[in-house]
């Protein structure tokens, strides 16, 4: 292998398409002479993400490539820079050039105007997306529009991937906030303990990749630099072997400094605690995965449990290397696109999809009578399952809300604590839970507390390297978010309490869960408050402004609202947002749970009224405020409208998941029926075929939805939209607990009555 690199001729070699824009260390890369021509060809065509390199060119050699690099016939470099090995990608059909180009343009526009784009839609995004992936800590700094999520799900154009990843992960901001930091660490010697280990691993990362095949080549040098820098950056965790492949993937897409900060983002935020000694985070996530599997793929779960195949046996490498050593390369990139956008839940989703497709069939399970056979099966996942398109579709279709994850995580955390009474909750874990949005407080609303937390955490590591970024560079978005929050909380204080309160209570699917969480997050709340004060003045100003503009727009909107069914639907979507939001109220630390309850009771009637007339929302509750804003946002240009709708569909769906606490089908189905105008929205909606439904829970919902469909469609929409916030509130009042199964039907009926009444006028108009 080294011989190849020695004969390399760096000149004239075009960068791998994926890294096209950021061809830093690549031009100088050692690449085999014999493949230069083909690489060039690929490089040029692939700029559009669509190389149509003649597949016959290497057709004959494919099979000949054994596992072993040495002595095997050489292949041309594939479109991702691999020259062989299990992750070599054959040339396949590509996206039509026009489509690819279109996507590139969209992404270019998005990236070039990232801040503006995001801030322009920030509020709307925030409101719409709150229960969703926005709850992930990465949204602390970057708040993508649902559209961004959607585009990430379709795959980031290869030529822009490196750039996009930096934006998505927020690592760009880190880097900008820490100029020279990397160079500084780069020059430092590093702990010899880690350095020795890192050096041993350099030649073992993707040895079939043109960038890393050369011993001591640029790829390996850069890998050394960023891993060493990270061990200096985070001396407590130092270097974990599983970081190397992650870093290598990043290096394939960006220069060392950028890759370093992206690595920081992944290790500190996305996979917090994964790489620290003890690996508690991984072990707990293994348990979480198992819990999720129980619901999603019960037969596989039973099988694994019967044979005592602990999750840790099969998921360690998947999770720690973010599937980079498991999936074919095109799938790795698609998974990373989604992962960096939506967070760790994508990793869980991939795992569930793989397990479902590998072990889901009874026939397959019969073939695996023992632990070892089962493990072998899982080591040899059918290739068709891992194919880019299939896998991506499955991932998107699998419904797994943030709160499902949060709930499961808390359950498993309790178990973990019980099993390890002497360990205080794993250090890294506690923070991971909160940060990653697996813990309920990971919800977007606690971004203030989060940033505080992170400051201290990072402070622990490296004189607040990141803490600095949080405070200084920190994205105006962050502060805006905070302001917004503050605004909300103020409003609540002012007089919209009823609404906000009710909303907040509603959103708690399970009191027990919340109680637990409250304990945990008390500290954070305390921390958060001072920050509130800090921005208070600013906040007030904004608040007033906002209110003005809102009330104006609201009036207009109200009229418009009833004009069309479309609008109704949009509203219904928006109205559901409050569910997850209430957690926010709690997090804001403004009101205690009990108080809210009381108030709620008093104001119940009022609430009901206000709900039946959407206009009344303007009375000031946070909930209604939001509602208006959403409407406003939606009522813009027509195409913006459809844009947002399509963009929202995923959000909407996921919200439902969250709300139900389960993978929910009902609303999606309804939605599907109603809308098919927008391709995007169609694809999102139709991505939930009934087959996805696997369990009793799902079927319950299904039934409901069928029932509902029998009624008027509009009525449906309405009742749905209102039912979710209010009745659950009711329930909370009634028994203090949220029992999803029993009460939902009743709730719905009650509310659809009200809806009917209130709807009548709307019907006329429409």
């Amino acid at each position: 292998m080294t011989s190849h690199s020695q004969t390399s001729s760096p000149t004239g070699i075009k960068p791998i398409p994926a890294v096209h824009e950021l061809s830093v260390s690549r031009d100088t890369l050692g690449t085999c002479t014999s493949i230069t021509d083909t690489v060039e060809l690929e490089g040029s065509t692939n700029t559009l993400g669509s190389s149509d390199v003649d597949s016959e060119m290497n057709g004959g050699m494919v099979g000949a490539m054994g596992e072993d690099w040495e002595g095997s016939p050489m292949k041309k470099v594939d479109r991702y820079g691999f020259m062989g090995g299990s992750q070599y990608t054959e040339d396949g059909p590509n996206l039509p050039v026009e489509v690819a180009r279109q996507r590139e343009l969209k992404w270019l526009d998005m990236l070039n105007n990232w801040d503006r784009w995001m801030s322009k839609r920030f509020k709307k995004v925030r409101d719409n997306d709150i229960s969703d992936s926005s709850t992930h800590p990465i949204w602390r700094t970057v708040k993508p529009h649902p559209k961004v999520k959607q585009r990430c799900r379709k795959g980031i154009p290869a030529s822009l991937r490196g750039r996009a990843w930096q934006y998505l992960s927020g690592s760009k901001k880190y880097m900008e906030a820490n100029p020279g930091k990397f160079d500084e660490m780069d020059k430092m010697a590093g702990d010899p303990v880690w350095v020795e280990v890192i050096e041993k691993d350099l030649h073992r990362q993707f040895p079939f990749h043109e960038m890393f095949c050369a011993r001591g080549g640029h790829g390996q040098q850069d890998l050394y630099r960023i891993l060493k820098a990270y061990s200096i950056y985070n001396p407590v965790d130092g270097y974990c072997q599983a970081q190397a492949p992650v870093a290598a993937v990043l290096l394939m897409h960006m220069p060392a400094e950028q890759a370093f900060w992206a690595l920081v983002a992944i290790c500190e935020k996305y996979m917090s605690g994964y790489y620290s000694s003890g690996l508690e985070a991984v072990q707990i996530d293994g348990m979480v995965l198992n819990g999720l599997l129980k619901k999603a793929v019960p037969n596989a779960y039973k099988h694994l449990n019967k044979l005592k195949v602990e999750p840790i046996l099969y998921m360690t490498e998947w999770f720690m290397c973010l599937f980079s050593r498991t999936l074919p390369w095109s799938s790795v990139l698609r998974v990373w696109d989604m992962f960096l956008c939506e967070g760790v839940k994508i990793i869980f989703k991939v795992a569930i999809v793989l397990l479902k497709n590998t072990l889901g069939q009874p026939a397959v399970l019969r073939e695996c009578p023992g632990l070892y056979e089962t493990m072998e099966k899982l080591r040899n996942i059918p290739p068709e399952v891992m194919k880019e398109e299939y896998l991506s579709r499955e991932i998107v279709e699998l419904k797994l809300g943030e709160q499902d994850l949060a709930r499961e995580h808390n359950i498993q955390l309790e178990k973990w604590r019980a099993m390890h009474p002497n360990d205080s909750l794993p250090r890294s874990r506690a923070k991971a839970a909160k940060q990653n949005g697996r813990g309920p407080d990971g919800l977007d609303n606690d971004s203030e507390t989060q940033s505080q937390r992170t400051e201290s955490e990072f402070g622990r590591n490296e004189e607040g390297a990141i803490g600095g970024s949080e405070q200084n560079g920190t994205l105006e978005k962050d502060s805006k978010k905070d302001k917004k929050k503050k605004k909300d909380s103020k409003k609540n204080k002012k007089g919209g309490n009823e609404d906000a309160d009710s909303v907040s209570t509603v959103s708690l699917p399970e009191e027990g869960w919340k109680g637990k969480w409250k304990k945990d997050s008390k500290k954070e709340k305390d921390e958060a408050e001072p920050e509130d004060g800090r921005i208070a003045a600013e906040e007030e100003e904004r608040l007033q402004e906002d209110e003005k503009s809102n009330s104006k727009k609201d009036k207009k909107k109200d009229k418009k609202e009833k004009k069309s069914k479309k609008d109704e639907e949009v509203v219904s979507i928006n109205e559901e947002t409050p569910v997850p939001q209430d957690t926010q109220t709690v997090e804001d630390g403004t009101a205690s749970f009990k108080k809210k309850k009381d108030k709620k009771e008093k104001k119940l009637k009022k609430d009901a009224d206000s709900l039946s007339q959407e206009d009344q929302g303007s009375e000031g509750g946070r909930f209604s405020l939001r509602k208006k804003k959403d409407k406003k946002a939606k009522k813009g240009k027509k195409d913006e409208d459809s844009d947002s709708r399509s963009g929202m569909s995923p959000t909407h769906q996921e919200k439902q998941d969250t709300e139900g606490g389960r993978f929910s089908l009902r609303k999606k189905k309804d939605k599907k029926d109603k809308k098919a105008e927008d391709t995007d929205s169609r694809s999102e909606a139709s991505s939930i075929p009934p087959e996805t439904v696997q369990e009793g829970r799902f079927s319950l919902k299904k039934k409901k939805s069928t029932k509902e469909k029998k009624g008027k469609k509009e009525e449906d929409t309405d009742s749905r939209s209102r039912a979710s916030p209010v009745p659950s509130e009711d329930q909370v009042l009634e028994d203090g607990k949220f029992s999803l199964k029993g009460k939902k039907k009743e709730k719905k009926r009650r509310w659809s009555k009200k809806d009917k009444e209130s709807q009548e006028s709307g019907d006329h108009l429409s």
């Binding site: 030649h203 073992r204 492949p245 690996l279 991984v282 490498e317």
Partner: protein
Amino acid sequence: MAAGPYNYSYIFKYIIIGDMGVGKSCLLHQFTEKKFMADCPHTIGVEFGTRIIEVSGQKIKLQIWDTAGQERFRAVTRSYYRGAAGALMVYDITRRSTYNHLSSWLTDARNLTNPNTVIFLIGNKCDLEAQRDVTYEEAKQFADENGLLFLEASAKTGENVEEAFLDTARKIYQNIQDGSLDLNAAESGVQHKPSSPRGTQLSNDQPANKEGCAC
């Protein structure tokens, strides 16, 4: 798979343990593929290898679990020890630190496997004589003191690799023959399979314990 005849009589589970970079995965690769893999990716979690060997006329299928070596993975890899009939404990003769850590690996192996598990000490990279940091004699003494089988081997040249794996199997088989290893004991690490064809009733999780039904 379950429906076909077994062409082996026993399944032995092995684990390979030892510090990172001592060549665990390379030993496995050499044993199963008869090749040396220079840039063998480091193991995250666990890897597997299988090979059927013959001991005293009995075909034995070895299921080999190759574990991650880095210290922080030990919390995870400990769960792989369960039910191992043989443990290959590897150090690198050119790095004394890997030898010094043997006692902690041995403790894990003893604590997490059953008392009859055969532990085989392998001093790897014996092709690098010039860089030797640990003498044969001291390692041999360590092995004797702790009742371990011992060989120096080279995953690169293949020297003694077969022997290490086969000697372990012979020892396990011997334990079965003289009755010191109870096949029916939970987690003995050995499963007895009939050589004759057998139906699908094997869909059992513990076929080893059901051996009586078809023998």
